[in-house]
């Protein structure tokens, strides 16, 4: 039998918040993935909206590239407000 594809499931827990990845499940198509996600991930009012994406549609960064991707940000302290010293008499900025 042909395997049901894997879908990644994203749930918005309430309006005003972003959708968050919660896990994955198999379904014959996207509509069924939404129905299954309803039953598997929102049995206790965990969500108000569901996104499903077929797992093979996701392109992920390679963990081996982590250094070249993310390390350059770590020595750029001037991107943070705490880098800048303000005179004591200045109370708010």
């Amino acid at each position: 039998m042909k395997d049901w594809p894997l879908y990644e499931i994203f749930i918005r827990s309430r309006n005003g918040l972003n959708h968050k990845h919660v896990g994955s499940l198999h379904a014959a198509d996207a509509q069924m993935a939404i129905q299954n996600a309803r039953d598997v991930y929102t049995r206790r009012n965990e969500g108000v909206s569901i996104w499903v994406v077929e797992s093979n549609q996701i392109t992920a960064s390679n963990p081996d590239d982590s250094e070249s991707l993310f390390d350059p940000a770590s020595d750029k302290v001037y991107r943070h407000p705490t880098f800048y010293h303000l005179p004591d008499e200045l109370k708010h900025m």
């Binding site: 198509d29 039953d39 992920a60 963990p63």
Partner: protein, 316 residues
Amino acid sequence: MNKIDSLEDRFQSRIDKEEKIEARDWMPDGYRKTLIRQISQHGHSEIVGMLPEGNWITRAPSLKRKLALLAKVQDEAGHGLYLYSATETLGISREELLDQLHTGKAKYSSIFNYPTLSWADIGAIGWLVDGAAIMNQVALCRTSYGPYARAMVRICKEESFHQRQGFDILLTMCNGSVEQKEMVQDAVNRWWWPSLMMFGPNDSDSPHSAQSLKWKVKRLSNDELRQRFVDMTIPQAKILGIELPDPLLIYNETRGHYDFGEIDWEEFRQVVGGNGPCNKERMAARIKAHEEGSWIREAAVAYAEKKKNYEKASVA
């Protein structure tokens, strides 16, 4: 130092720093295999664990009890799915996982090979079996493999109602007639020792434990978890007003823990080895459900394909 050593050293130092390992990260083959075995076994236990309780859904004593039991069994199906999905991130397919269960290559918790003889058994399962499972699962929320840890957090959140509904069943029966209280005592007599076996062999007889603890796949040893469970359960038994079937269960002032009697490890080995009271029945029911459901899986695929073709045609 060769390349393999340095990769493994780097991996271990990440573990030592409490970093979580994610699906695409490098990991030793043994770590991957251990996880596949442990998480799938855990998932299979959730799935097979529905069977002894399913036995009582149609015979629950009230609509309230029936709804609660249905919700609990539905949770267990969900927990099985979380765990299967977590296992699949390690590179094994759902089909292989189910195949391993159905051929007996993969194990599931031995506790589900005992029969549920009366309604009190449903209470005892919730109280003792889920209580023991929670003890184990709370510790696993800190396991080193990210997808497993996240599944555990979700499961623990949902699971606490399971234990309470079990205790509530028993408390109601203990406050009922003499016969009802006797049913509770009988159920607890039968479920107590198998529940202690759920934590697995003694640390001294558990060959994989040391490595699993080093990799932080397990966070506490079998004996530590078992002791915690015993200590936690005794005050609850007092509230129910029932006896736990172990004359050696005595508080040890020096250790600050309850001592308890020797587990019948021969029984454990027999049940794990396929010779428990219900092993054959459970597997037969599981395989039957899978096979008799195959038409619906095929129909869903056929329907999805038909719909896709229809959409294509209407666009053209």
